[in-house]
Every structure is written in structure tokens, then in C-alpha cells.
């Protein structure tokens, strides 16, 4: 098997600050390829380039929002960060320790510090386990508590996430969706992690319930000094909870900026299309809004377009650039560069355009 992507240019670091504080998590040129093998010859026919050179930092107490549409690689990035799926190449440094290449056994003591909250609160809780056992399981596995101490911790955790500790003998089906997601959060917090990867934590919930869980996540971060990688497709939720946002398209980060900056001054055409597509619950504004509509479909990550991966759907490429400019999009991959915009944007012709 060839080492994929060794000739690709590493994107410059996408970072939120210039001082010397070390990030909790530093991801550098992370790649995750899934081989497509022929069934007979066991030969690798092609690679799905799910994540192709992603770099970002997350600092203590910070929330990084990772947004993008289905198939852009945001969930795979989350899983590769946790080493649930070993990265193909690149580096994930958590509090100074390299995670890429660690075996499951080597990973185990570190799992305490990085936890994952799943999207579907119906599928991620074992229906045959009482809530007390679900929340206690990480503590039991890591041999951190037992007996009275374990019961006390479970009750504490339930209170922490806003659940009534007296319900600990109940089963998941006795809880509503929002309550189940709180159970998932309590389980993730049991080991006192420093980093939580939240993969679409509120997408399965009704809006009225969602608000409570978002408030809870906000509170927990402040009280416990947690860092979040918040993966979501709902941009209004991401804007609400994140300090910085990274926008992904087809396995690459195309734009990163502090949240307000990204929403006010998006410079990448994809970000602009994404923001302009958010339906606002405001009839008067909806009536007057101009939408940037994207043509076509997401290209296959098996065989992504050359140069800029977004060019096949880009309204600038199809409508605003001349042939010579287009050649650059076709031949040259745009790097995530500041380009006088003030924040990293992976577009040769990046220009700020307010769309919201």
C-alpha cells in the first residue's frame, strides 16, 4: 500500500491565538483514508479520502465548532482524534502526547481524558442497563470507584447534568430524548475528561428540548474547564456554542475563524453558500434574502477534483472568474492562508462577503 498523500502540501496551522499557551489538542495534517479493496484479489483499488490533511488547535476551555455537510469528514475527524479509527497519517497531540500510532492498550489510560458524546441518544445507551450502571460503567472499567463511593459519584453526575438522582434505577426507555442525551453526557463526564468530542449532540432533539441541552453544555464547560470539539451541521447552534469555527468541505478545512468573524465576514465561497442557506425564523428577512445556491452534488471523496476541491460547485468559479483564473483553481490547491482577510481561508480568490 502506498503512503497516501505524502506529496500533498501541508496546510499552514489554523490557530486561534498567537501567544505561547499550549493547546489541549493539536491536530496536524490529519488524514484518514478508507481503502476500497477488491473482494477477490484483496488489492486496494482506491482510497476514500474522508479526511485529507486537517489541522487545528483546541485550547483549554475553548469550543471549536466543526461544521460541514454530510460526507465532509467532520465525524471521521472526531473519531480519528479519539483514535477510535486509527489515522492514516498526520499527528494528533493531546496535552503533549502523540496519539497517532498508539495501540488500543496504550490508548486506554488516555481515554479518561478525551470522551465522546454521540448523536443518537436512542442508540448510544444500552437498553438493558439501568441508568446507574450506564453512568457507572466508565468508573468501573477504569477502577476509579466502587461501592458507596461509586453510588455517590453516579448521583453527583446525574445532578450535574440536571437529572434527578432518584431516577438512577430506571432504564433508558423511561427517559425522553433530551434526558437520554443528558445521560450520555453524564457518562462522558464520569472520568473527568478534559476534552469532549461532541458529535451532533443535539441534532436528534426537538428544538425546545435542544435549548436545555445546549445550555447544559455551556454551563459544564465553564464550571469544569472543559474543551469541546463540537461537530454539527446546524450553524445556528454552532454559532451559539463555539468560540471558533472550522468549516469542512470534502475532507478539508476551507475556512477557520473566531465565530463572530466567520459569521460576519465569511470569505470562502463555500462558507458563504452555507451561511446563506440557513433558514432564519424571521419572515421579513427571509423574504428579502438573497441566497447563494450551489450547483451539483458533493463530488466523490474517492476521486476528488484536482486543485480546489470546491471548484466543481463554486459560483465564483462558474460565474465570476476568467479562464486564466480558473486554471489556477484547477491546477493549484489553495492553502488555508490569511490572504489579507485576517483569518485562514483556502480559496485563491477569497473575498469577504456578508451574507447573513
Amino acid at each position: 500500500m502506498t503512503t497516501p498523500g505524502t506529496n500533498a502540501v501541508a496546510a499552514p496551522r489554523v490557530t486561534g491565538r498567537s501567544d505561547d499557551t499550549l493547546p489541549v489538542l493539536r491536530v496536524t495534517d490529519l488524514k484518514k483514508y478508507f481503502p476500497i479493496r477488491s473482494t477477490i484479489l484483496k488489492r486496494t483499488l482506491a482510497q476514500v479520502q474522508a479526511v485529507d490533511g486537517v489541522s487545528f488547535d483546541v485550547y483549554a476551555g475553548e469550543t471549536l465548532g466543526l461544521v460541514g455537510e454530510s460526507g465532509c469528514g467532520k465525524s471521521t475527524t472526531g473519531r480519528a482524534v479519539l483514535n477510535l479509527q486509527p489515522a492514516t497519517s498526520g499527528s494528533v497531540v493531546f496535552e503533549g502526547r502523540e496519539l497517532v500510532g498508539l495501540s488500543r492498550r496504550q490508548m486506554r489510560p488516555l481515554r479518561r481524558h478525551i470522551q465522546l458524546v454521540f448523536q443518537d441518544p436512542y442508540a448510544s445507551l444500552d437498553p438493558r442497563m439501568q441508568v446507574s450502571r450506564i453512568i457507572a460503567e466508565p468508573l468501573v472499567i477504569h477502577k476509579l470507584a466502587s461501592g458507596t463511593e461509586l453510588r455517590r459519584r453516579v448521583a453527583e453526575l446525574m445532578k450535574l447534568v440536571g437529572l434527578n438522582p432518584e431516577h438512577q434505577m430506571r432504564y433508558p426507555h423511561e427517559f425522553s430524548g433530551g434526558q437520554r442525551q443528558r445521560i450520555g453526557i453524564a457518562r462522558a463526564l464520569a472520568l473527568e475528561p478534559r476534552l469532549l468530542v461532541l458529535d451532533e449532540p443535539v441534532s436528534a432533539l426537538d428544538v425546545s428540548i435542544q435549548a436545555g441541552v445546549i445550555n447544559l453544555l455551556d454551563d459544564l464547560r465553564h464550571r469544569l474547564g472543559l474543551s469541546y470539539v463540537f461537530i454539527a451541521h446546524d450553524l445556528s447552534v454552532v454559532r451559539h456554542i463555539s468560540d471558533r469555527v472550522a468549516v469542512m468541505y470534502l475532507g478539508k478545512i476551507v475556512e477557520t475563524a473566531p465565530t463572530d468573524e466567520l459569521f460576519k465576514r465569511p470569505a470562502h465561497p463555500y462558507t458563504q453558500a452555507l451561511l446563506s442557506a440557513i433558514p432564519l425564523p424571521d419572515p421579513a428577512r427571509e423574504r428579502t434574502r438573497q441566497r447563494v445556491l450551489l450547483e451539483g452534488d458533493l463530488p466523490s471523496p474517492v476521486n476528488p477534483p484536482s486543485g480546489c476541491r470546491f471548484r466543481t460547485r463554486c459560483f465564483k468559479f462558474s460565474g465570476q472568474l476568467n479562464d486564466e483564473q480558473r486554471q489556477k483553481c484547477i491546477n493549484e490547491e489553495p492553502l488555508a492562508d490569511n490572504r489579507d482577510i485576517g483569518h485562514p481561508t483556502a480559496c485563491h480568490y477569497a473575498a469577504v462577503q456578508t451574507v447573513l
Binding site: 476551555g61 440536571g162 425522553s176 428544538v207 425546545s208 436545555g212 445550555n215 474547564g225 442557506a277 419572515p283
Partner: protein, 429 residues
């Protein structure tokens, strides 16, 4: 109208409970739903839709919004006659004045797909995977029009694909559903829905399974289909943003009933039912720079098998008073530029307030129902006894709260961070 002969001789007399835009909108009334009720599982079963009434006019878009289990989908399934035989449906559904409820399957088939078309949520299941999409559109055309030739039907199919924005329709017409992406498949479904120039299109969560940029293009396709056919559109969704951009009038559903109904501006800017107020305020705002804490609606929707006394929203309502338990409030006229009704005995108290002012009755809490019930009661003492009165009826009473709820800066952090003085916390830009 081919189906007219099969209709019952004596149409049920119609009384409008909420003939909202009757004066305001132009165009003929196409679909009238009156006092629609749906039960599942026998007389003691679930009363899923409880007296829903609306009408839609030609060219108009009516939005129906509600959370899971509010009965918004069942309502449209009942209108289309698609519910299982075990469901009991009462009330009246009239298309251009002729009754649809109680029609035999044959009579209904003449209306369904021709006069009233439907777009479902999931394009993966509403298209047949073993037929080319062209064949599926042609089938829809030929079922309702025996005279159309195969060739003409195929030409029409290509035209339809073009209208909904499928590139190279002449080639794509011979593709199978699996060769299309989700958004493209939904456009095919829209093309099928508009194939016979229907008078009414009912779209049930048409963009819920789609990404936001795809959603934008599919909504454009639905608008194009509506423009082309001049149909009335009933758009069912949980997404208030989609309603805001598409609908002229909105019906808000809760626990199987309409709880607020009015012009989209009235409902969105001047909601008069606390549930609508809560729903609008639970969304993160994109239009203001500073982030405010969100205000969830506490608790969960009631079980339809066991509704609370009086107002079904009562147990979750911050404006709840004892009188709310007396009887379920009727839809009453409130202020508005278009006819505007709300089912709340305290609706008048909200008059004069916009949605954010009205939203201040909701607590920006992070607690869950049980704990928050105590919060609302102001009983935050460490040892609270007695169950919260603000409990949804389907939940057993909440036992006393043992400690302060989370997230309000309460003193002992029961679960200390590894390093409470961790650097960088809150110091980012």
C-alpha cells in the same frame, strides 16, 4: 372532475373553527379540513389528532409546524386517506367542496396524485429502487391520464425534471434512484408530485433529511413546482426557519391540536400562545451579535393517551395558573394583521409584546424537567419535599430534589475539574 360522481350525495355541513385567512387571501378555497379527529388503537387508544381545522386557497402556502408527536404528519396522512384501516377518522376533509373522508380506495385514488399530491420526507423510500425515475414519472402521468402516449409522457417527464432543476434531464430520465443524491432524489419526488398539475401539494418534512445547501435548492424546486401548477401548498415541518421563508400562514400544533394559527408575520413576531413563544425563543438567534442564553421549554410533550387536565401545554407553561386546568382553551381571536387565533386563556396578556419580550417568561435554565420544575417554583432549598406541580402527566411524579441544579453557579461543584485553575479558561478571544 372525474371523481365527483363517486362522492357522497350529502356533503357534511361545514363549520369553520379557524377560517383564518378567509378574508385576507385571494384565490378559491381548494382544501377544507374541518374538526378532523384521528384515533389509533380503538376507542381507548391514542387520540392523535384532536379537532384540526384549516383551509388552503389556490397559490397559497400554509405552514404546519410542531414538534415530534404533535400530530402534524398524522393530520396530512388523514387528509390523503393514507392512514391504516385501524385508525378511526372523523370530521370532514373537502376538496373543492366535495367530501373526501369516507371515500373508498378507488374514489380516493382518483384524487390522490392528481388533485392532491404529496411529497414525503424520505426520498429513499418514496421512490421505487427497481424502476428508472423516468418510468416512475411516466407511470404517475399515465395512471391519471389514459390518453397520453408513452412518448408524450416521457417528454413531459423530461420537462418536469427540468423544472425541478435536474441537470441534463434528457439523460437523467433513464437513471435509477440510486444514481441520484438525496437532494436530487427529492427533486424527482417533487417532479412526480407536480406531474399531474395538482391543485394541492402536501409536503411532509420535505427537506428534513437534507443538508442545508441542498435544502435551499429543494425549497426553490418546491417553489418552482408551486408556481408552475398554481397549487396550494401545505408545508409540514418542525423547522421554523423553513416556515418563515415559505409560508403565508402558519398553524402551530401541540398535542394533536392547533394552538395558534395566523399570518406568518403575526405568529413569528407577535406570538400569543406561550408554546409558540417558547418555541421561537428556544432557537439560537443569528441576528444579534451577543449570545444570549437559550430558553428551553421545560418538560416533555404530554402523552396523548393521558392528557393533563385543561390546557395540554399547562405542565410546561411558565404562565400556567390554576384556571388553566379547568378546560382546554379554545382558539380565540387575538391581535394581528391577518386573522390570528390562539388557544390560551392568558393570550391577552401577551398583546403588545414582541416574541422576545413575551419570551422572558421562560427561564434560561440548563436543568431538566424535574429539577427545573422546582426552579420555577422558586423552591431552591436543599431539601425540597413534595412533587413538582409542573409535571407532564405521563411522567411519574418527580421525587424531591437533593441539591441545587447544575449550571447556575451553585457552590459545591460535585464533580471537580481536574484543575479548576486551568489556564486559558474563558481567556480566548
Amino acid at each position: 372532475m372525474t371523481h365527483a360522481g363517486q362522492l357522497p350525495a350529502e356533503p357534511v355541513s361545514v363549520e369553520f373553527v379557524s377560517s383564518a385567512a378567509r378574508e385576507g387571501a385571494a384565490g378559491e378555497v381548494l382544501l377544507t379540513v374541518d374538526d378532523l379527529n384521528v384515533w389509533f388503537g380503538g376507542r381507548n387508544g391514542v387520540h392523535a389528532v384532536r379537532g384540526v381545522s384549516y383551509e388552503v386557497r389556490r397559490g397559497e402556502t400554509l405552514g404546519i409546524v410542531g414538534e415530534s408527536g404533535s400530530g402534524k404528519s398524522v393530520t396530512s396522512m388523514a387528509v390523503m386517506g393514507l392512514l391504516d384501516k385501524t385508525a378511526r377518522v372523523t370530521g370532514s376533509v373537502q376538496f373543492k367542496g366535495s367530501e373526501l373522508l369516507g371515500l373508498k380506495d378507488r374514489g380516493m385514488s382518483a384524487v390522490r396524485g392528481k388533485k392532491i399530491a404529496m411529497i414525503f420526507q424520505d426520498p429513499m423510500t418514496s421512490l421505487d429502487p427497481v424502476y428508472k425515475i423516468g418510468q416512475q414519472i411516466v407511470e404517475t402521468l399515465r395512471v391519471h391520464d389514459k390518453d397520453i402516449s408513452r412518448k408524450a409522457a416521457r417528454e413531459r417527464a423530461i420537462d418536469l425534471l427540468k423544472i425541478v432543476g435536474i441537470p441534463n434531464p434528457a439523460d437523467r430520465v433513464d437513471n435509477y434512484p440510486h444514481e441520484f443524491s438525496g437532494g436530487m432524489r427529492q427533486r424527482v419526488v417533487i417532479a412526480i408530485a407536480m406531474a399531474n398539475n395538482p391543485d394541492v401539494i402536501i409536503a411532509d418534512e420535505p427537506t428534513t433529511a437534507l443538508d442545508v445547501t441542498v435544502q435551499a435548492t429543494v425549497l426553490e424546486a418546491i417553489k418552482a413546482a408551486q408556481q408552475e401548477t398554481g397549487a396550494a401548498l401545505v408545508l409540514i415541518t418542525h423547522d421554523l426557519g423553513v416556515i418563515a421563508g415559505m409560508a403565508e400562514r402558519v398553524m402551530v400544533m401541540y398535542a394533536g391540536r392547533a394552538v395558534e394559527f395566523g399570518g406568518v408575520d403575526d405568529v413569528f413576531y407577535r406570538p400569543r400562545m406561550p408554546y409558540t413563544v417558547g418555541l421561537l425563543n428556544s432557537l439560537p438567534r443569528l441576528d444579534v451579535a451577543e449570545k444570549e442564553r437559550l430558553t428551553p421549554i421545560l418538560g416533555t410533550p404530554p402523552s396523548l393517551q393521558n392528557l393533563p387536565p385543561g390546557c395540554p401545554f399547562g405542565p410546561r407553561c411558565p404562565m400556567h395558573v390554576a384556571e388553566c386546568n379547568a378546560a382546554e382553551p379554545e382558539l380565540r381571536t387575538v391581535d394581528g394583521t391577518m386573522p390570528h387565533v390562539a388557544a390560551c386563556i392568558r393570550a391577552e396578556e401577551l398583546i403588545g409584546q414582541d416574541r422576545y419580550e413575551a419570551g422572558q417568561v421562560f427561564e434560561a435554565t440548563s436543568a431538566d424537567a424535574g429539577l427545573a420544575g422546582e426552579l420555577a417554583a422558586g423552591a431552591l432549598a436543599a431539601d425540597v419535599s413534595g412533587a413538582s406541580p409542573d409535571e407532564p402527566a405521563d411522567e411519574p411524579p418527580e421525587p424531591p430534589v437533593l441539591g441545587p441544579p447544575s449550571g447556575l453557579g451553585s457552590p459545591p461543584v460535585p464533580h471537580p475539574p481536574t484543575d479548576p485553575t486551568a489556564p486559558g479558561h474563558g481567556a480566548h478571544e
